[in-house]
Amino acid sequence: MPTMIESNLQDDTLYFRVNTPRLDAATAREFKTECSEHWNPGIQRLTINMAMVDFLDSSGIGALLSVYKRLTTPQSIMRLVDVKPAVQSVLELMRMHRLFEIRA
């Protein structure tokens, strides 16, 4: 069965690739559920590849924040990479770049 995210864990770094073009009300719940399945408390760094995502709504923002909140120590880092320009604009409008790194 196709999954919404592919994951790869190396030491304390978790790598996700989002396999859906829309992170919205229809997909946010599944995204969060799958993130939970791959999570462990030792994770310090999280990189999410957003290359496939071209639409975010408030549910998508909520989902990204809920994953971000799982990183519990001040040294923890979350990065969004391969972010499309339209998605990057939305994330910046919502000031998400103050919480996590966002790279095109």
Binding site: A25, S58, S59, G60, M94
Partner: protein, 379 residues
Amino acid sequence: MSHARYFPDEHPALRETLDEYLRSLGARLGRQLFSGEVAALLLAGGYGRGEGGVFLTNGTAGLYNDLEFYLVLNSSRGIAGPARRWCAEESHRGEEQTGVEVEFKILTLAALRRAEPSMFYYDLLSANVSVFGDAPLADRLPPMLRDGARLPAHEAARLLFNRGTGLLFAGQALEQDSDRVRDGFVERNHAKARLAVADAVLALNGRYHFSCTRRAGRLLEPLASVPPNWPRLVAWHGEAVEFKFHPRHEHPSRALLLDRQEELVAAWNEVFLWLESLRLGENFPDAAAYAFYRGRLFPASNPLRNIVLHLRDRLRRGCRLPLCAWRDYPRAALQRSLALLLLPDPEARQGGGRFLGLPEGAPINRVRARYEECWRHYN
């Protein structure tokens, strides 16, 4: 997603049950003597918009929200009594059949034609399921009722007022540690408040849409005016949309619910004062400044009509708002009172009673009871 029938997810058995219920309901209405005077019977609310909640119990899908029906009559002349009786019977029958609360309300075409644009009419007429009636009802009514961009700013305030009232009731349940804490009442009201604080901002910006998934997208567009902490409100909206479609009772501890309550009330207060400051062209730095504002909160309302409304409420509804409030629309007194009732300081909260016609120092439970009684007429 927002145009699915009743709810967004695939639950064919539940959808079929609801289809069958609506078919039989329409057939029963058709057999009534007054059915010739019925313009439409509409399923409105979340299920009418295709955005109802589905609650899973051990994997079995069930309805979560109330079913809201509107019986629209061509004219109520001579048939109001039978129509009301039929609605009462069907409400009872519907609750037995569906397991959720089933509400019927009666409207007339004349009242709809006279109606001012409001969120209620916009939601009702823009998306519904027609259970009975030939021609689409909306085609027979002024198009402005279906224009989300034309909702007046006081409708945004009204949305916050209603959800703030939900927070007031949730806070009361938490304070008394009542059964409502455990039956999901508090979680539901928290989710509704999370949706509303962001939705009210969209309404104020002329970007409200009946579909909450469409609103979820619009929140991420650049808006002319947004309140402080906007990104947090947007994220809350997203969580609340998810709860709306996939409600669940996680039974969080009372302590956690109290924390959430405090956080939500603070956010509500911030957004409400921000919105009212913009709407009225004033600056309300705190709830007291708003509650004791000397101007009218509904400046466009007709003072004479307001006096008639207050008089009607006093004589027919037992809703005794103080005389000093009579020049303004009756909801103004409730909005002022609510702003104080949601404050953390017990003494400040008691002050909410003076806008409801209660003496200084009336016990807080009496103030809340009076508020609830009056709110039922102006929500």
